[in-house]
């Protein structure tokens, strides 16, 4: 029964593919994988927008959406029908294209953006035996398709023929290229220790338990540092607050998608959230044990439930950070990437190497933690310079 629940979607897909003639099966199997990814993560996108608006509302002492229910019924569902209304609105809105815009490129930009974002899901294992394609170079594939989004952002910003959108695209590209470096270098530690670029093998390497506790990478000094670096870089890569300078409503209005309206705007919105899901899924795969349970005794729950539970937890973290941390300035953003994240990520590689070759035990923990903590404090102190933080003094008009 446990196995059946765990593999229910795999069995369902096998049964569905089995009803077709043999020559059709590869194509049908691909269509089943693709359509399930689009349906599941599309629905998750809709639900996340409502959860985000409600959570941010809570943080800012207001209600958030709580009226719209299912269409044609009396069900209100605490406002969770909001995304259906939003979707219909986006579909039926007028699509305004500026007269000066480069028509073809302007039309293509949202498409160039959404394709790599969906492709990225194809190597993320969402459960036991549940990965669309298991290739040798899975992690490399993930980052390679991710590289396509930068070009899409430039295309959108340039083709709009708007100074704000070009500025937004420049900011976005500078930010994405800068944070891609610590993102990939923090991934290298996991690849080093597992000895494989395959996402399935990386999850399997974390699937054992020592007693009740899982052997996730995040529970080692290098893994914890790598996870934090990866998560910060992931926030910047997906242009989420506090790294949402490319949008910067107060300075450049909406950045690179300022000249997009109607459904094309919705596609940009969708791509941003799907990118966040994909990179969170990668963080879960690399550091949080993928679909494995957090305690050995909870192993009977289906593996896909654990993956999506972890995904929801990370998404909540993203929303929480968005609601509480103010936006960085562009120079702070660059300094943080090159002067702090990059050295820490490089030091983390040394720590991971030592962890591999030192004998297991307390000594290994102390050495690796010291290698990471000492530079962390020294670097932090050096970058702080002469600045000191104190409790803010408020001055009021008298």
């Amino acid at each position: 029964m446990t196995d059946f629940c765990d593999q229910i979607f795999v069995l369902l897909a096998h049964w569905l593919v089995g009803t077709f003639p043999v020559s059709w099966r590869p194509l049908v199997s691909a269509i089943v994988s693709v359509s399930s990814i689009m349906a599941v993560f599309g629905l998750l996108f809709g639900l996340t927008t409502v959860v985000e608006r409600k959570t941010i509302g809570r943080i800012q002492n207001r209600y958030g959406p709580n009226r719209v229910g299912l269409p044609f019924t009396e069900l209100r569902l605490f406002g969770f029908g909001q995304f259906i209304a939003d979707g219909i609105k986006a579909l039926t809105k007028e699509d305004v294209v500026p007269r000066a815009a480069d028509q073809v490129v302007h039309f293509l930009a949202p498409l160039i953006l959404i394709v790599p974002v969906f492709l990225a899901f194809s190597v993320v294992p969402v459960g036991r035996n549940m990965v669309p394609i298991d290739i040798d170079a899975g992690v490399l594939f993930f980052f390679a398709v991710g590289a396509g989004t930068e070009l899409a952002v430039f295309t959108a910003g340039w083709s709009s023929r708007n100074k704000y959108s070009l500025l937004g695209a420049m900011r976005a590209i500078a930010q994405m290229i800068s944070y891609e470096v610590p993102l990939i270098i923090s991934t290298i530690t996991v690849v080093m220790l597992v000895g494989s670029l395959s996402t399935v093998k990386i999850v399997e390497a974390q699937a054992d338990y020592s007693g009740q506790l899982p052997q996730w990478h995040v529970f080692t000094p290098w893994g914890f540092a790598g996870f934090v670096l990866f998560l910060i870089a992931a926030m910047a890569e997906s242009n989420r607050s506090p790294f949402d300078l490319p949008e910067g409503e107060s300075e450049i209005i909406a950045g690179y998608f300022i000249e997009y309206s109607g459904f094309k705007f919705a596609v940009f919105f969708l791509a941003e959230y799907l990118g966040m899901f994909a990179i969170s899924g990668m963080a879960i795969t690399l550091f949080l044990g993928g679909w494995t349970a957090p305690l050995a005794m909870l192993d009977w729950l289906p593996s896909w439930l654990w993956f999506f539970g972890k995904l929801m937890a990370l998404i909540f973290l993203f929303i929480w950070v968005r609601g509480t941390v103010p936006r960085l300035r562009i120079d702070q953003l660059m300094h943080f990437a090159w002067k702090f994240m990059l050295p820490m990520a490089l030091i983390n590689i040394v720590a991971a190497g030592l962890w591999r070759f030192l004998p297991p035990g307390l000594g290994r923990w102390l050495v690796c933690s010291a290698i990471l903590l000492v530079p962390y404090f020294l670097l932090g102190k050096a970058l702080m310079g002469e600045r000191r933080f104190a409790k803010r003094k408020y001055r009021y008009a008298e």
């Binding site: 480069d102 490129v105 290739i135 040798d136 170079a137 490399l140 594939f141 980052f143 390679a144 398709v145 991710g146 590289a147 396509g148 930068e150 070009l151 430039f154 295309t155 340039w158 590209i173 290229i177 891609e180 494989s196 670029l197």
Partner: protein, 168 residues
């Protein structure tokens, strides 16, 4: 030659031709990206996962962005007025023919040919990511270190060029 190969080759060639003949430089850069992506797909179709994905990561992720930035920072986005075909094409065609000839001659004379002519050999295992990693860390560790040194020097040079001069 399969249908898939024909499709990829057609898209790659169309991208390359468009990159040479379009008037707007940013359009040319985008078409060049199409050609580079087609090349990466060709590598992937040949089971060379590492080379294909590295091609996407480096050329589409970095080189294309570099080209686009160079275009935006050096001239206006307005298309140039002079005709596309100029006298410099003769020189360019000569260089292109020479490059192609020397590359083709080198490939035809290389030791790879007999093995590649035998379709029974397991090419996929030979270009697996693990094997490439092992080779880089054992047989080719010196070239790897030299490349690392070169890139570090380039990085330091870039920082020095971009650094603010304190004296002024």
């Amino acid at each position: 030659m399969t249908v898939i190969f024909a499709m990829i080759a057609l898209v790659t060639l169309a991208g390359a031709i468009a990159a040479m003949s379009l008037r707007n430089l940013v359009h040319c850069a985008l078409c060049l990206v199409l050609a580079l992506g087609g090349l990466a797909t060709l590598f992937l179709q040949l089971e060379a996962q590492f080379v294909g994905l590295a091609q996407i990561l480096v050329y589409i992720g970095a080189v294309a962005i570099l080209i686009v930035f160079a275009i935006l920072l050096t001239r206006g986005s307005e298309p140039p007025q002079q005709p596309v075909v100029t006298s410099s094409w003769v020189m360019g065609a000569g260089v292109a023919v020479l490059t192609f000839g020397s590359l083709a001659a080198a490939l035809l004379a290389s030791w790879v040919t007999p093995a590649a002519a035998n379709p029974k050999t397991d090419v996929a295992a030979d270009v697996a990511v693990n094997r490439i990693g092992e080779k880089l860390m054992t047989d080719y560790v010196l070239p790897l270190e030299v490349v690392a040194l070169l890139l570090t020097a380039a990085l330091i040079g870039a920082v020095i060029i971009a650094m603010q001069e304190k004296g002024r």
